[in-house]
């Protein structure tokens, strides 16, 4: 298996959900998908293709809230990122933590730093801001002129 095989199998299985595929190098790629399809695509990548979840990166840009879910296939040293863009007005996405525990902390962290809502999170408690941060203030949000 190589990076192309991973990209092609995701593209073929989820042709309606994949918006864009960008292969940067032999071992690095980004697959942009519709936010509502994150659960089935991530499940396929994690369970069928057996990729390991590394971490997720949220970012506030002019497009909205972007999340990159970094997955890796260790046997070939490949990092494949699932990319979603959420609207600023309603930043909501399904939580992956019911599928595997590795996203439990980072989803809570992204909620506290950016205010992104992860629906159906199994443990929606505060992780890093317990007791010492103001409510409703999301420190990593940006202001655009």
């Amino acid at each position: 298996m190589n990076t192309d095989d991973i990209l092609n199998s995701v593209k073929n299985k989820f042709s309606a959900d994949v918006l864009d595929v960008f292969k940067k190098s032999e071992t690095r790629a980004i697959i942009t998908i519709k936010p509502e399809s994150i659960l089935p695509v991530a499940e396929y990548v994690y369970k069928d293709l057996e990729l390991r979840f590394i971490i997720a990166t949220a970012n506030h840009t002019r497009k909205g809230f972007e999340i990159l879910y970094h997955f890796t296939k260790d046997s070939i040293g490949s990092i494949v990122n699932l990319h979603v863009v959420l609207p600023v007005e309603k930043p909501e996405i399904e939580s992956l933590s019911n599928m595997f525990s590795a996203t439990n902390w980072i989803e809570r962290e992204m909620h506290e730093l950016y205010g992104i809502v992860f629906k159906n999170h199994p443990e929606p408690e505060k992780l890093i801001s317990e007791g010492n941060w103001a409510e409703g203030v999301y420190p990593y949000r940006r202001e655009f002129k």
């Binding site: 940067k24 190098s25 071992t27 690095r28 390991r52 979840f53 590394i54 971490i55 990166t57 970012n59 990159l68 970094h70 890796t72 260790d74 046997s75 070939i76 040293g77 490949s78 990092i79 990122n81 595997f100 525990s101 590795a102 439990n104 902390w105 980072i106 505060k126 992780l127 890093i128 801001s129 317990e130 010492n132 420190p139 990593y140």
Partner: protein
């Protein structure tokens, strides 16, 4: 009916180098549930990095962790160089790997010492930390600092390891190897250490995959992942070495992986030193004019596991977004699996087994009554409890 108890460990506790609160919910002696509070150390480093230039950010990410202070610059350099499509010289690659492996040795020794202390084996603690000193002295010779070496920069390293320093490094490693044989023998052949660590804090392969645990924690459960092998960087593809794994997933397996990894590190350093001799002195960096807009994902194998950095660049001289994931971030979450069902006296060593690093993730332990919330034991008492169990086993 058995009385239920809550044991808090932290936020400030000798078990841990940094603040974090663990709450062990106990029924009699058995841990039934574990919860934690983090955030005591959140320093906003990801956002600070966006305000600094790439060169300045190296000094910042070096301070993410005090123990493995090179692993973050290593991953950051990999990420920025991937974004900027920069290929560094062989000499710089060798120097990076030497620093990375020396750090693995000193960090594993630190862990072995602390694990010995938690078990009530202060001789192991004193030996391990004594043998660690000459390694730190090597760092002082190479970089001028015993910790936070400031060796890395975009396009190479800041300081050369001149050829006249090679004999001294080799001599220190030869001496250390003999001492390490003693230490490994003392830990691996001791029946009491076997009794205290075998079958304790077990993580299965499925737990590792579920929590995405990395490093020695994963390798001790038979998951052979190591970024140095899987996605080779620096000089690791240029030298011969093997990934150490164990199958049992208990505390002993984690100790075994770390102890044997030190021999691999010594071997890697020796081969890198030979490689250095073939390269021209002084060729330690390539000139980097600018980093084009784009992104880079860099990872590096720190002593505790994979460090991951994602850098988004916009063509300016600082990152537009910088994400840092330390190995303890995923490893600490495995406590839910490794501690539940253990006795309180085994909980300390189970917590310590993943070598959790709070400055990386943020941590601590105390016991509360399950129903009343009344405080029962503090960290010192927990360590004393663990030491007591060891001395009982010794006397048997």
């Amino acid at each position: 009916m058995v009385k239920k108890t809550l044991i808090p460990i932290g936020p400030y506790h000798p078990l841990q180098e940094e603040p974090e609160l663990f709450k062990l919910y106990c029924e009699g002696e058995i841990v039934k549930d574990i919860k934690w509070e983090t955030g005591y150390n959140h320093r906003g480093i990801e956002q600070l990095s966006e305000k600094k230039t790439f060169d300045q950010s190296f000094f910042l990410v070096e301070r993410v962790c005090g123990i493995c202070s090179t692993s973050h610059p290593f991953a950051f350099a990999n990420a920025v160089e991937e974004a900027g499509n920069i290929e560094i010289t062989n000499r710089a690659k060798y120097i990076r790997s030497i620093v990375g492996e020396l750090e693995r040795i000193h960090s594993h020794l630190l862990w072995v010492g602390l694990a010995g202390h938690f078990l009530g084996y202060n001789t192991v603690f004193m030996w391990a930390w004594k043998y660690r000193e000459p390694i730190l002295d090597l760092f002082e010779m190479i970089s001028g600092n015993r910790n936070s070496y400031a060796m890395f920069k975009v396009g190479g390293v800041r300081r050369d390891i001149e050829n006249n320093k090679i004999p001294k490094i080799k001599e220190t490693l030869d001496k250390f190897k003999k001492k390490n044989d003693l230490l490994v023998g003392a830990v691996m052949d001791d029946p009491v250490i076997h009794a205290r660590t075998k079958g304790v804090g077990i993580l299965t392969k499925q737990d590792i995959i579920d929590y995405a645990a990395v490093g020695p924690t994963a390798r001790a459960s038979g998951v052979a992942i190591d970024v140095r092998k899987d996605d080779p960087y620096a000089a690791y593809p240029l030298v011969n070495w093997k990934v150490i794994t164990a199958e049992k997933g208990d505390v002993f397996a984690k100790a075994e992986v770390r102890l044997l990894e030190m021999y691999e590190s010594i071997s890697i350093i020796e081969q890198c030193l030979e490689g250095l001799k073939k390269e021209k002195e002084g060729e330690i960096e390539v000139k980097v004019k600018n980093i084009a807009a784009g992104w880079g994902t860099g990872h590096a194998e720190a002593p505790r596991g994979e460090v991951f950095h994602y850098v988004l660049t916009d063509g300016s001289n600082s990152p537009a977004r910088h994400k840092i994931r330390a190995p303890s971030y995923t490893n600490i979450a495995t406590f839910k699996k490794s501690c539940i069902g253990q006795t309180i006296s085994d909980a300390t060593i189970s917590l310590a087994a993943v070598d959790p690093c709070y400055c990386c993730t943020e941590r601590m332990a105390v016991a509360y009554d399950w129903k009343t919330g009344e405080r029962i034991l503090n960290g010192n008492e927990l360590i004393a409890l663990s030491a007591e169990k060891t001395s009982k086993l010794k006397n048997k």
